[in-house]
Amino acid sequence: MSTNDPEKLEASIHRLLRSIPDRRAPASLEARVLGELSRRAALPWWQKSYAYWPSAVRAAFFVGSALAAALIVSGLFVLVRSSGATALAGGVAERFSWLVLARELFAAANDRLRVLIGAIPSLWIYGAVGTVAVCYATLAAIGAATYRTLTFARQNP
């Protein structure tokens, strides 16, 4: 018997698939689940997520975090307001004066590089960009062709 009526095929396939009994789960599944549950239960609370911490510890952690945040904010506030803040800022700037030198060196190198690139004929640059693009596309095509060939071979042994 042969047909090409998609609705009839849908109904037949549906009936067929729904008539298939479930597979038997591996005998090891139950032991694995129980083993994993035991392993997780045996973990100390500090190795579990916050939701599993004891209530007292959670409350203490919350209070401690709030106190630490308040301490940091008030410390910064006091530091900025204090008379020694300007002197401290000067000291920090002096300690990191090498950053200014590094920035000047970087700017000089950047200028030289721009002059150098400006001297290269634009045709060379376009050629190099084109070559890189062709190499990239070739490698991607080889990779895709290999993957599709292997996948097709696996799906149609």
């Binding site: 047909t3 090409n4 095929l9 298939i20 009994p21 591996p26 689940v33 895709a144 993957y147 996948t151």
Partner: protein, 176 residues
């Protein structure tokens, strides 16, 4: 757990087509169930909840694998072309495939036929026929277009019918 483990394992195995991965997913499903034990122990919908979680975890597993290879697998566009016309394929009606075949044999036969389908056909077919998920929902869960889901399912049915027809002939030949 014993009541539902076959259903959970079967749901995962049909989607991921790999028994070891299906067992891992089933384990994760039951661990999640344990975390929601209070809610599930009295709920008449516990089976549905487990099936939904098994389906979602299996799809997540496949998505992770698929994302890794999507670029290469879709570069040529041959296997995943969208919006194509419905294929006209002659197939044998599957009602007559299993006359005189017992349920276990039938299950093995169909599972093997399903496993021969490519993933982009098998997964939507399983979701539609086994899990009763609509075309729209399948498209949104798999992140593909509605047209592609419909085409893939249509082709999967035709391919499944063809595979089963071939198997039917060989089984018939073996029984003589």
């Amino acid at each position: 757990m014993r009541k539902y483990q076959d259903m959970v394992f079967t749901t995962s195995a049909r989607l991921v087509k790999n028994d070891a991965q299906a067992e891992d997913i089933s384990q994760e499903v039951f661990i999640k169930a344990y975390e929601h034990f209070e809610m599930l122990s009295t709920s008449p919908a516990a089976g549905g909840w487990l099936k939904t979680v098994a389906t979602n975890l299996s799809i997540n597993h496949l998505q992770r694998y698929r994302n890794r290879w999507r670029f290469f697998s879709e570069l040529g566009g041959r296997a995943d072309s969208e919006g194509e016309d419905s294929p006209t394929i002659e197939f044998a009606a599957p009602d007559t495939f299993f006359e005189g075949v017992d349920a276990d044999e039938r299950r093995v036969w169909v599972e093997e036929a399903l496993a021969q389908l490519p993933e982009h056909q098998r997964v939507p077919l399983v979701l539609y026929h086994f899990e009763d998920i609509s075309y729209d929902e399948i498209a949104s869960r798999l992140g593909v277009s509605l047209a592609k889901v419909k085409t893939d399912i249509l082709r999967a049915r035709a391919a499944l019918a063809k595979i089963l027809s071939r198997g039917g002939e060989s089984l018939e030949a073996l029984s003589h």
